[in-house]
Every structure is written in structure tokens, then in C-alpha cells.
Symmetry: C2
Subunit: 266 residues, 2 copies
DNA sequence: CGCGCCATTGACAGGTGTCAAGAAACGTGG
DNA sequence: CCACGTTTCTTGACACCTGTCAATGGCGCG
């Protein structure tokens, strides 16, 4: 029994909302609604389902031995999740927004369907690739050393994932604690950093979780780009990489050490 | 031409070494040998190939705007990589061991093959799932705050990935700088931490990159587990999670704040 | 209303990045 | 084989950032 015991609704599936057409895969789905904090699956549960979130939000997290929590991923509408190579769940997933809608696909049936329908197989494959892309980009975020970088990158990520170009305002579904555990820093530092960004007039805070991006340029400046791939100037990395460590303006010396292509063409 | 211009060898593919049977996929492959530092693909290259590393090692990295480097993944024998959802490469991959052998599969042909052969599709899908699993586990590593935790987790990861249970000695293919950029910390700290671990007799250093794990228990203690899923005691997370923040011995208060299932069953 | 949870702010110490210097390892060429 | 330059690795000193502890206010909810 891996689904929350209190899971109330089980809608007959016809016309699942969402931006991606899953074709026959939808007929395997059952949809459930989750309240805040309700568990979608637990650590060590058997990996028997794939999931897709239709509305709301969820967090995928783990607890370390000393009782600290780390959030591996925020799951937003349209995302597929639960692609685990292992037999058992390595993480647990809980809803963080009220009335979060999640579709569930039995692995085995879905696999069988994928075996018979290349179209399905392709959809699943691409969903998995998207997960990889998201995780890798997130990796870079976590790799940032300063709190300002992390939080700025996080805000940009949320803005992008919510396609909030129009109004420039994001309504964060997660608490400061969640953000802290997501960025691997203390809550207090998250709070302080947001205050700092507000003081700089880079962002404005309406309700506590309502962030308006006043100066996206400044935010990207701090976040150091790489958050969004398709931006204007892809930045010529080869130049930076191949030159023997250029001054690079006010480079904080930082984490980069070896030039990218040493011993090139040896 | 995204492959290194100096790529010397192109073996006729028959009987690619490696631990996984790729079936007909192998007929699409071309294998090349790379020297240290040679580029497999670059940032912004079109994503036209999938890859599989047969021997040696490689790093997948990115450069931030201020010239720092972050290594997203170390790629070891058996790993498939290059699964990008985007049209262009978000990262660059370079060999870090001499004579690294890498097989290359054209995406389009491979996709076509996967469409016609469910077996192939399944193999690719599972390889992608494995990437996800590895990335997620790595996420947790990066989420660690202390240098000791990070380095310990890293050493355990390398030991596991090299299946080095027998001799307890790992020969790291990467430099300290690579490790630093992988763990998002300064080289000096990596060095200091290794020295510290040696002082504790947790590890021993033969050659500089030759690490012998003297006290795996201590290493796991510091790394806080979660690095390897299938260890003896999976640690009952539910207990920790559902109780209202137990004292948890000498809990450093840390990153964990909210109990896992608040408002459970609402 | 009062109890949790969430969010913010302050004070402080410890850890880690930074700068600097030197030792060790490696490859190359004499 | 040795000399030499380059790269890698280590160690030290110091300042700053961020985690920790503590206290307060706001907010939702029973």
C-alpha cells in the first residue's frame, strides 16, 4: 500500500489535464488528489508506479541519518517522476500544495504498453531525458557556493518553470524550510538572502510566498546564468576555456582551475 | 564534427567490451580512444549522439560565467551518457584517463532502432533511469554541508562504482581539482580533508590518487550513509519522520526542520 | 483565543574560501 | 640519467560567509 491511506478521490480517468499527450498511456492512469503534506510514496516502497503531476506541487526528499532533510526535486505540473532504476524508492514524495492532482501509471503495464507501442516508449524516454536535464541543471545550482547565487538561481528556476514571463510574479508553493532543504542551506540564510535581494530592489515580496522579480537582469547577474540555456548570448566558453586562465574581470578565482581542453590534440 | 579532431582510433565494431548487452544497438556504434583532456563533446554542440564509456573515465562539466567550473558527473566504465532533452549540449565532456574508450551511437538511428525494437527501447530507458538514480544520489552528496561529509561520501561513491570491495583500494582517475569542482569546494579544502581523514586512520594514501579505505565504518559514519541503498540497515525513516522531531542523539539541528508527514491524513 | 508553524532578525563562533608559498610528481628534452 | 618547467598537491594564515542558537512577530487553524 504505497499510496496515502487517506487518499480521497479517485477520478475515472478521461481527459487528464496536462500539456503533454500521453496517448494510450492515459488509460492506465488513475488520478488522486493529495492534501498538503500527504505522501505519494515513501522511502523503501516498491517502485511499482510512474507518476505525473497534473496540478499543485510536490517535493521529493530524503532524510539523512542525523535527521536532516534534503529535497532532491520540486515537482511541478507536467513533470513525470518515479523513474527509479532501483527496486525500492530511494526517496519519498509528498504534496506541498493543497489539492495536488497526481496521475499514477502501473510500471509493469506501462512497460508492456511501451514495448508494444513505440510512440509510448518515446514519450517515456523523453520524459526521462527531461528529468535528467532538470537534475543536471539543478546540480549546477547546488554547486554554487554563495547563498545569493543559490537563491537567485532558485528564483529564476521557479519563474521559468511557471512560465511567469508575463507578470513577473511567482507564487511559490513551498515554505522557506523547503527552499532551505532544497538549496542545502539554513532557513535563516534563505530568509536573510531574500531580504537582501529585496533591499537591492531586485525582487519584491507581496505575500510571503509571492515574489515579484523587479530586476531580472540583476538576478541573472548574480545567478551567473546557465539557468536558462536558450538565452541571448550563449557565452563563448571555448575562448574562456582555451586561454590560459584569463583575468575574467573580477573573477573570484573560484572553483575553476584547469583549463577546459588541456593537452588539446595531443 | 563534434568529436575531437585528433581522435585517432576508430575500431570496427565487433564485440564491444562492457558489462551490458546492447544487442543490435552495437552495430550503430563507432568507438574512439581519447587521451587525457580530450573533448568528447562541447557545450552547445548539437545533441546528435548517445555515448557509452567502455574504459577509462570522463568528466561532464560546465563553466559558469565568472570562469568557475563545475563537474556535473564523473563517467565511469559502463555508464551511458549524452541523454539530453535539449537540442544542444548543456555541458561538455572530456576524458580524464589516458586511452579512454568511448562508443558513440547516432541518436536518430538509435531512436529509429528503438522504435522498431522494444528490447532496445527498454535498454535505453533503463540506462536513462540509471542516470536519474545516479544524479539523484549525487544531489544528496552535494547537499551535504560539511567538507568531511562531502569527501567521505565521494570516496564511498568511487569505491562502490569501482566495485572495490575486495582490496579496499581505489585508484582515483581524477585530480584534486576535479574532485573540488565535483563537490563544489576549494581544492585546498579537499586536500585538507583528505589529510584529516588520513590522520584519523580512516583512509591511507599510497600514491597521491591511490586511496585505501582502512575504516569503512568510520567513513560511512561521517558520510551519513544514504550513499549506498542496499546496505544492511535501511534505517527506519518513518520513525524519524513521523515523530515530532526526536532528539536524535547529537543532532546538529541541521537542515531538517519539518516533520516528513505533517498534517498527515487531513 | 491560544497553540503550532512559519518567517524574520540579531549575535556569535566555527568552517571554509581566499591568498600565499612551497613541496612533490610528472613529462620533456638534453 | 639528470635538469628543467609545468602541473598537481599540500600546508599555513586570515577574513568572511554562513550555520547555529535565541528571541520575536505574524499567520492560520482548531
Amino acid at each position: 500500500m504505497e499510496i496515502s491511506p487517506s487518499m480521497p478521490i479517485r477520478e475515472p480517468v478521461e481527459g487528464i489535464p496536462g500539456d503533454r499527450a500521453l496517448g494510450d498511456l492515459e488509460r492506465l492512469a488513475s488520478v488522486a488528489r493529495y492534501g498538503i503534506g500527504e505522501t505519494v510514496y515513501r522511502f523503501n516502497d516498491p517502485s511499482e508506479y510512474w507518476f505525473r503531476i497534473l496540478s499543485g506541487a510536490a517535493r521529493k526528499s530524503t532524510l539523512t541519518g542525523d535527521g536532516r532533510r534534503h529535497i532532491v526535486d520540486f515537482i511541478l505540473p507536467g513533470d513525470m517522476f518515479g523513474f527509479d532504476a532501483a527496486e525500492c524508492r530511494q526517496f519519498c514524495v509528498e504534496a506541498i500544495a493543497p489539492g495536488t492532482l497526481i496521475a499514477r501509471y502501473p510500471c509493469r503495464s506501462a512497460e508492456r504498453l511501451a514495448d508494444s507501442d513505440p510512440q509510448i516508449a518515446r514519450i517515456v524516454r523523453e520524459a526521462a531525458f527531461e528529468s535528467i536535464t532538470r537534475l543536471q541543471r539543478r546540480m549546477v545550482t547546488l554547486g554554487r557556493t554563495s547563498a545569493l547565487e543559490k537563491v537567485s538561481t532558485f528564483l529564476l528556476e521557479m519563474a521559468d518553470r511557471y512560465h511567469t514571463a508575463a507578470t513577473h510574479t511567482v507564487l511559490l508553493p513551498m515554505s522557506r524550510y523547503d527552499i532551505a532543504d532544497y538549496l542545502a542551506m539554513a532557513v535563516e540564510t534563505v530568509s536573510r538572502t531574500l531580504t537582501e535581494l529585496r533591499a537591492r530592489h531586485t525582487i519584491a515580496l507581496g505575500a510571503v510566498r509571492q515574489v515579484r522579480i523587479c530586476n531580472r537582469g540583476a538576478l541573472e547577474e548574480v545567478a551567473d546564468r546557465l539557468t536558462e540555456p536558450g538565452s541571448s548570448a550563449p557565452r563563448d566558453l571555448t575562448r574562456i576555456a582555451s586561454s590560459p586562465m584569463p583575468p575574467a574581470a573580477k573573477s573570484p578565482r573560484g572553483i575553476h582551475h584547469q583549463r577546459c581542453n588541456d593537452r588539446w590534440g595531443r
